[in-house]
């Protein structure tokens, strides 16, 4: 359709805009309006209440543990999957996608069956050691780690494939230790992939509801606080907390598109024209095609 008539174009455009308006733009806009229609004091009181502050700090703890761990192990796992060959590699690769593929509630249940105080694999032993995982913050942290695990791995793997091993080999030939090679050659080359992965993992970790709700007991994170306020018929509290989360989500979107533009500019300045351009959106649906052993796309 190189030149569809103006009528067709306007028609299709209106259908798309109406659909997006009804599904996303108007609903999201409406809760911003509802939150602030009676002024600022009510929403601020709600999120600064004892429960609200508690939920905020619990969320910070979960994100603060999950994201750094997933970053370190994510880079390591990506390196292992791209640069090494071993039996069971495709299984390991497939396991990375599991958190994307399964229901958050199933993740919660799974942790429950391993760590619950009773009727579980290790729960009662851990209780004897004085560690309670389920119905407590450690369980919420584990759930957050699980759901945000794939992002760094999946963002770093294609970059590692693309950069190849020439520079690392050169560094080693010149006598660099593996550590030096990693810090001075590999890490700078994959820095954008790591950054995207961290941003996406943070967004996911901040907003996780299903997996955390199964294991949280009476503890609250920000998303759980939204539900509690709603069920307690405190709509303004629910809206206020939801707005905080929505603003964080939008900040993630903005920083991602800023980072993508910047990395593109840096790549152009470095004269690296082969570099794959980021897709049209921030979130690219990942599907590891062809399994772990697939050669890089040529």
């Amino acid at each position: 359709m190189s030149a569809p008539s103006l009528g067709v174009r306007l028609g299709l455009r209106s259908i798309v805009l109406l659909y997006l308006a009804a599904l996303i733009i108007v609903p999201v806009g409406l809760i911003f309006y509802r939150t602030f229609e009676h002024g600022l004091s009510q929403p601020i009181d709600a999120v600064t209440s004892a429960d609200g502050q508690n939920a905020f700090w619990t969320t910070i703890i979960c994100v603060g543990i999950a994201v750094p761990l997933n970053t370190v192990f994510g880079v390591m796992t990506a390196l292992v999957l791209v640069r090494q060959d071993f039996r069971g590699k495709s299984l390991l690769n497939a396991l990375i996608d599991i958190p994307f593929a399964i229901s958050p509630v199933v993740i919660g249940l799974a942790l429950f069956l391993v760590y619950a105080p009773r009727n579980s694999w290790f729960g009662s032993w851990l209780m004897d050691q004085g560690v309670q995982v389920i119905f407590s913050v450690p369980g919420m942290v584990l759930a957050t780690i699980f759901v945000s695990l794939p992002f760094v791995v999946r963002e770093v793997m294609p970059v590692l494939r693309e950069i190849g091993t020439d520079q690392e080999e050169a560094a080693e030939t010149l006598g660099a230790s593996p550590w030096q090679t990693f810090w001075k050659v590999t890490l700078p080359a994959i820095r954008w992939g790591v950054t995207y992965g961290v941003v996406l993992a943070t967004a996911r970790a901040l907003g996780e509801f299903g997996a955390v709700s199964v294991v949280a007991g009476s503890n609250l994170s920000m998303p759980l606080f939204v539900r509690k306020e709603f069920e307690g018929f405190d709509l303004s509290g629910a809206y206020a907390a939801a707005i905080v989360l929505a603003i964080l989500a939008m900040a993630v979107l903005l920083s991602m598109s800023y980072l993508q533009k910047r990395s593109q500019r840096v790549a152009e300045e470095e004269g690296d024209e082969d570099r794959e351009l980021p897709g049209p959106g921030v979130f690219v649906p990942h599907l590891e095609t062809g399994g772990a052993g697939a050669p890089p796309h040529t």
Binding site: A3, R83, T165, W179, F182, P280
Partner: protein, 279 residues
């Protein structure tokens, strides 16, 4: 690309590439990490699902309430994926081929459902389509609410799969067809669509896998009425609350099998297509 050649010709030499003190060490750490975080809990669900035998597993998922929840989930997901196939492709087409003020803003709105926490999505849809709906549409606590929530959370998949393909499609064939007098719908059906089908399939598959497991966006919106608006994930949550872990695990294993099977099929499809195209 030089990197491709080295990767194919020389197998990675163990020890040389590993930055953290030995290939075996990093490999061991990665395997241990994934096993501890992902494999161990997964194994617990599988073993609990079958702990009372296959007969009990079967009766757990065919139990009236469980079956109703599974049916609702599968049927709603199918409807949602069909709508996505059409609307997602249409949105991608408008974003690539059309030009209007505010297009970049619309483009970034597509990502919002990925970034927005699911519980916020639930609240957001409830504000517009709930009991206090300012437009008089009352979807809340009906099956329509399930559809609306799933449409919201799965919106980006097809759009973001199809968009890059459309960007790269060769326009010359379309122009040739147009200059030979082919009408627009014919050009779309026989030239554009065949190029898009693989991306549509991939996007739909991912959207379906997401839809059958969705939980957060349904919680506030659907009322979770058993046999009516209770989706499979909400049913699992309810069983955990009442202490029926085997029942919850059985339905979980079923959902897991469907989405893992689907992703596997998509991978095979993509791999087959890559080989097919190269040959």
């Amino acid at each position: 690309m030089a990197s491709a050649d080295t990767a194919v010709v020389s197998p990675p030499r163990a020890g040389l590439r590993a930055p953290l003190g030995g290939a075996a060490l990093t490999r061991g750490a990665a395997v241990l990490w994934i096993s501890l975080i992902v494999l161990l809990p997964l194994a617990a669900v599988l073993s609990r699902g079958f702990s009372d035998g296959i007969g009990h597993f079967w009766s757990s998922i065919t139990d009236g309430e469980a079956m109703a929840a599974i049916k609702l989930t599968l049927i709603s997901s199918l409807i949602v994926v069909s709508v996505n196939a059409i609307m997602g492709t249409l949105i991608a087409w408008v974003l690539v081929r059309d030009d209007f003020r505010g297009k970049r803003l619309v483009n970034s709105v597509i990502d919002l459902p990925f970034a927005l926490p699911t519980i916020v999505a639930s609240l957001v849809l409830l504000a517009l389509y709930g009991p206090n709906s300012p437009v008089g549409i009352h979807l809340a606590y009906t099956k329509g609410a399930v559809i609306a929530a799933l449409l919201f959370v799965t919106l980006p998949f097809v759009v973001r799969s199809v968009q890059p393909v459309l960007l790269e499609v060769d326009r010359e064939m379309e122009e040739a067809a147009a200059s030979l007098g082919a009408p627009n719908h014919r050009i779309f059906r026989s030239i554009i669509l065949p190029n898009l089908v693989p991306a549509m399939v991939a996007g739909c598959g991912l959207a379906f896998a997401r839809a059958i497991g969705e939980f957060g966006s349904l919680v506030l919106l659907t009322g979770n009425v058993p046999f009516k608006t209770e989706a499979a994930s909400v049913y699992i949550y309810g069983q955990v609350q009442t202490g029926d872990y085997s029942g919850a695990a059985a339905v979980s294993v079923f959902l897991l099998a469907v989405s893992v099977g689907l992703l596997l099929a998509l991978n095979l499809f993509a791999g087959w297509r890559t080989r097919h195209e190269r040959a």
